[in-house]
Symmetry: D2
Subunit: 285 residues, 4 copies
C-alpha cells in the first residue's frame, strides 16, 4: 500500500529587487514547495487530475513575489502555503521551505554577497494547523580558548587525553519553532534569536560542546517567549594541536591542523515544558 507521500518543486531561485526611487532593496531566496493530500490516483494509475504541476508551483512563487513583494520569509512562506491548501481541493498540507542568502549594501543599488550563513524557515499549513519554524545554517563560530574536555568515560578504545584548553569551533545549524503562526515582527524575532545563540556561544566557558549547545538553546527559550523549542545540530569542527616536538619546537595552542572529516556531531533540543509536539519528518506525520 501507498504510505506517506508528497511532491513539489525544490530550489526555486528567486531574486527580488524592490525599487524605492534610486535606493534598491535586494532579497535573494531559494524556495521549495511540497504538497500532500489526496494523491493516490497518480501513484496507482498515472491519473494526474489532482496533480498541480511543480512548474505551476514555481510560477506561483514568482507571481506572488511580484504581486505583493516578499517581506520576511516567514510571511512569504505562509502566503504561499496557505494559497496551495486553499486553492487546490486535493491538497491538505503544504510545506514551504525558504533559505535567505545575505547581501551587504555597498551603495544605493550595489551589494556584496555576505557569508555562507543563511536564514531559513519551514512553514507547514496542514488543515487548520500552521507551524512556523525559523532558523539559520552555516554560521561558523570559534572560541580559541575557554573550552575544556575532561573527565569523560573511558573504555578500552579510548586514547584521548584530557584537554584543559582547546579550540571550540562549530557550524551552527539551528531551527526553532514558534508558538503560533502569527507574529508582528518576524525580523526582530529572528535577529534576537540569532543574537542569543551567538552570545551564548561566545559567553559560555565550555566543558563540552553539549554544555554549549544547551546554553545556546536555553538562552533563546528564556528570552523569546514566542519560541517553544530550539533544535541545534552542532558539528565539532576539530582543531588538533600539531606535534612540533620532532622539530625542537613547543606548541602551546598556537598551531592547529583542521581536518575536514571525521567530526563530532552534537545534536539536541531545548524546549519549554509545555512545548507542543514537533514532528520533524513529514514521513512520520
Amino acid at each position: 500500500m501507498l504510505g506517506s507521500h508528497q511532491y513539489g518543486k525544490a530550489e526555486v531561485r528567486l531574486v527580488h529587487v524592490a525599487r524605492h526611487g534610486d535606493r534598491h532593496h535586494l532579497t535573494d531566496l531559494t524556495v521549495g514547495v511540497a504538497l500532500a493530500g489526496d494523491l493516490a490516483d497518480t501513484h496507482h494509475t498515472g491519473d494526474n487530475a489532482r496533480v498541480l504541476p511543480t512548474d505551476s508551483q514555481k510560477n506561483t512563487v514568482y507571481a506572488f513575489a511580484r504581486r505583493d513583494g516578499v517581506g520576511e520569509i516567514e510571511e512569504f512562506g505562509l502566503r504561499l502555503a496557505r494559497h496551495f491548501v486553499a486553492s487546490q481541493p486535493a491538497i491538505t498540507r503544504a510545506t514551504v521551505t525558504i533559505e535567505q542568502h545575505g547581501w551587504d549594501r555597498l551603495g544605493e543599488h550595489s551589494f556584496a554577497r555576505a557569508g555562507a550563513e543563511t536564514r531559513t524557515t519551514t512553514v507547514t499549513v496542514d488543515g487548520s494547523d500552521t507551524v512556523v519554524v525559523s532558523g539559520l545554517s552555516g554560521m561558523v563560530l570559534m572560541n580559541t580558548t575557554a573550552s575544556e574536555f575532561f573527565g569523560f568515560a573511558r573504555d578500552e578504545y579510548t586514547t584521548l587525553p584530557d584537554a584543559h584548553d582547546r579550540i571550540l569551533a562549530t557550524a551552527v545549524d539551528a531551527r526553532w519553532r514558534h508558538a503560533t503562526g502569527e507574529s508582528d515582527d518576524w525580523r526582530a524575532s529572528f535577529a534576537e534569536a540569532r543574537r542569543h545563540l551567538v552570545e551564548a556561544f561566545v559567553g559560555t566557558y565550555s566543558l563540552s560542546l553539549q554544555q554549549t549547545l544547551y546554553a545556546m538553546g536555553r538562552r533563546v527559550i528564556e528570552h523569546r517567549p514566542e519560541i517553544t523549542e530550539v533544535r541545534l545540530s552542532l558539528p565539532n569542527k576539530h582543531h588538533f594541536n600539531v606535534d612540533l616536538a620532532p622539530f625542537g619546537l613547543d606548541n602551546p595552542n598556537q598551531v592547529f591542523h583542521a581536518p575536514d572529516r571525521p567530526y563530532g556531531l552534537i545534536e539536541g533540543a531545548v524546549r519549554r515544558d509545555d512545548a507542543p509536539q514537533w514532528v520533524d519528518s513529514w514521513w512520520d506525520a
Copy 2:
C-alpha cells in the same frame, strides 16, 4: 528543559583491505555513530562522566574492522551499534550509518572507483529493539522516452503544456526497512532490491514520476518478503526541449537543456499493510 539529543562521530573514512594471498578485497566506507541515553549531566553542568568521547567511537570503528573484518555493512553496523549499547551503561540507543563506495576490480590488487552511487545502511539498536534500514543513493537513471505527463490540474499559474513524450530522469535515493535485524544474506537482499528498483524504472511506461515511484516500491515489496517498507525520494531531473525554431530547425525530442535547479521532488513510501511503525527522525523518537 532538555529535549531529544544524541551525539557521536560523523564521517569516519575507513578503507579495509582483505588479503587472500595475492588477491585483495577492498571495502571503502564512510561510517557515522550517534549515541543517546542518560546524557543530561554534560548538557547541564559539563560533567562528562557518561560521555564516551567521539574519538573513542572512531577508534572502535577501526579496531572492529581489524579484529573481525567488515563483511556486509548491515552486519558491521549491527556489531558496532550493539557494542556501544552493551558496553556503555549510560547509552540506551546507538545508531550507526554507513555509506559504501563502490570499486570495480582491475586486477588482483588493482581497482577503479565506480560511480557516485553508494550503498547505505542505518542500524539502530534501542533497548531490545533493532531496526535495520538498507538503501542506496546517487543512482542516476534516465528513460529517453516512454514517459508522458498530461491531464494534470490547472490553475491560473499553469502554463505547462501536456507532454506526450518526454525524458524521465532521476537520482534515486531509496531506503528500505527490514522486518528483522537478522539475515542470512544481506548482500543478496541488497542486490535484489536494487535490481527490482532498476527494472521497475526501466520497465514502467510512465504517466507521472509518482507512478514510477510507486511501481518501484511495489516491486520491491512484492518480491522481497524480508522488506516491510520502501521510502523513495526522486528528484525529477528536468530535461527541457530547446526551442530551435528561431534558427529554422525543428527539435523532435533530440536536443535538451538540463538545468540544475529548480527540480521537481517526488517522495513516497510503499509498505506492507502490517508494516511496523518507522520513525524516520530520531528527534521524534
Copy 3:
C-alpha cells in the same frame, strides 16, 4: 593597457538523443566557448559592435547539435570553433572545451549514469592553427600493494618513515595533445589512450608516484603516434595505516584512514622529442 582577454559562455549543458528506431543513443555534454580577437572597444568604451553575445554562442551549441548531431566531442568542438572564427570577423581565436558525462545502457532507451569520470577535449582554432587536446578527469585508481616509497631526501622536518608496502591511489587528470586537428577515429584514439593509462597504472610496480606518472605518459606516447605530449596531474590520495597497537591489535596493511586533505600532488608531462610547443594558458598565448 589591455592585456590578454577572451570571453564566452561556460558550462552549457547539452543532452542529445539520437533515435535510431526504438534504439536511442545518448550524449551528455557540458560545453564552454571562449572567443578572442579585436575586442578592445567593448573594454574601453562599451561599444559592443564586435561582441557576439554569449547567449548566441549557447544557441549555436544547441543548433549545431540538432543540425548535424554531436558525434565525437573533438569533432563537435572543431565544428563549433571553426564556425566562430569563420563567421565572426572580429574573432581570431575560438576555444571550445567539452566534458562528456558517461551513461551505461540499460535498455533500448534506458540508461544509468556512469561514474564521475569524464572524457574531455579542448579545441583551439587560432588563425590557421588548430590544436586538439583530448583527456579525461575523475578516474580514481588504486593499487592496494606493489607500491613503495623509500630512500627519499631527508631534512630537519622529515619524520616520514620508509614505506615498503603502501596503498597507491590517485584521481587521474590527464590531457594529451594531438599532432594534428584531423583524425579518422577520435573514439578509438581516446579509448586506446585511456587503456594505456590504466594498464600502466595497474602494471607498474611503483617506487614513487612520479615513476608511475612517467610510465603512464610514456606508454601513451609509445603506442599512440597521433599523440605528441601527455600532461598528467595526479593527486596522491593518501591512505594511512591506523595505529591499533593501543588496542592490542596489529595492522598489517589492512585498516586505513583516508583523509581528504592535504594530499600530495604530482604533475608532469611526457612528450616526444619533436613535440610542438604547447601553451597551456591562453593568458600567455
Copy 4:
C-alpha cells in the same frame, strides 16, 4: 622524454592563534607547496634521493608558523618558498600558494567565519627570480541597475534583445602581480587593491561586463604603482527577468530567476606598458 614537472603538498590546512594576553589573533590558511628541479631520476627509475617528501613540506609549513608566526600571506609564502630552494640542492623553483579565510572578531578570543571570499597569493622563487602574485576569489558583487547591454553583433543564432536596464552580478576572481618581491606593507597593498576593484565595480555605469572588467583593472593599475598587471576572471551571473505576463502581471525588473549554468565568462588583463612577462602556467615556464 620527460617534460615540465613539479610535485608538492596541496591544501595544508593551518589555523594559527597568536595570543597577546587575553586577546587572540586568528589566521586561517590553506597552503600548497610545489617544487621543481632536478627530479628526473624519480620519474625514470623511482630513485627518490632528491625527493623531499611532501609530508616534510607539510611539516615545514606548521613549523614555520610556530617559529616565526604567519604575518601577511605574501611574507609567509616568501619565507617558505625561499627555504625550499635554499635548503634542497635539487630544487630550483618553489611555488607556494596560500588562501586566507576570513574571520570576524566577536570577542577577545571569539570569532565568526566571514564570507566565501578568500585572499590569495602565489609566490614563486625560481633561481634568483621572485614573483609575488596577490589576489582574491569568491567576492560576489551585484549592481541591480546602471547596467545595459545593446548594440552587439548579431548572427543567425542571435535572439537576445537589447537590454537597457539589467542586473550585473559577478564573482570576482582577481590576481595581480607585484613589481618586486619586496614590500613594506602587503596588508595595505591588498586592502587598497581590493577597495579599488570594489569601487570600480560599484561606480562604473556598465555597457558590458568587459567595460567593467577593464575599469576595475585600470583603477588598480592607476592607483597602485607596486602592481604591474591585474588579471580578472568574471563570470556573468545572469539574472533573467521572469515573464509574468501569462498571470496578468508586469515585471519592471523586480523578479528575477538566477540560473546556475550556463554563465558568461569574461576574462582579461590590464597591465602597464612596461609590465614584465607573466607566465601563468608553470607547464609553460
